[in-house]
């Protein structure tokens, strides 16, 4: 199976504007949502949108609390099926409600996404993912 060099896989992953996050629900079923994110080395950050209620109010947060293992996918699809590829980051996640790591997440996300930079309402909890394995595939 043709794979990318790890540096190239990480570069493409970091450059992507959207990824999909798979977690495992408390009852063991999988769950998947699109996320915007920022990558710094082997750490990926996302953050919950501003909400009236903060904390672990998102299903993905409750899933991570029950099962920290996550899988995050970035891919490029086109037809015909030439120069298509995906990069997957497998690792473990923590939900960070406040403090320095959440500040780092917010700073990186605001640098990457203009809309985050412009929001003035308070954000929710950050999801901090330690990537333990990079996988990739391309045609």
């Amino acid at each position: 199976m043709p794979t990318l060099a790890e540096a190239e896989a990480r570069r493409r992953f970091a450059a992507a504007r959207v990824a999909r996050l798979a977690t495992v629900r408390p009852d063991g079923r999988p769950h998947i949502v699109p996320i915007v994110f920022a990558l710094d080395g082997d750490t990926a950050y996302s953050i919950a949108d501003p909400k009236p209620k903060r904390g672990l109010d998102l299903l993905r947060h409750r899933n991570i609390a029950a099962h920290p293992a996550v899988s995050v996918l970035v891919d490029e699809y086109r037809e015909p099926w030439e120069r298509i590829w995906w990069v997957r980051a497998d690792g473990s996640a923590r939900v960070v409600v406040s403090g320095m790591e959440r500040d780092t997440a917010l700073e990186l996300l605001r640098a990457k996404y203009r809309e985050y930079a412009e929001w003035t309402t308070p954000f929710g909890a950050a999801t901090v993912i330690s990537v333990e394995r990079w996988s990739s595939w391309e045609i």
Copy 2:
């Protein structure tokens, strides 16, 4: 959370050219891959590419054998964050190595994807997903 009517959610899901499939590995960690697929009612089909070795050779197949629950996501992302949406199909999957259901999968996939229609080498096993719940979100 703003959601789509179920008929509209199913319509957008069916029209998408690519989806992401989340499964659970035998050890309980999540796994995610992009898939091409065809939807017929509440059943989604995908098929393994032609390979020298057929059967349960893909990790997603081994995952489904261990944990039949799956989650499949279709989304549309753009910036600025307007008219973005996702539709998620949660259900249970079976891997079908031969027979009528696999023939149905191949027929639907060949009707949707020109490249599948043109391949003459034998395909691998089909993944047949019974959707039990549609979820959606849009801005």
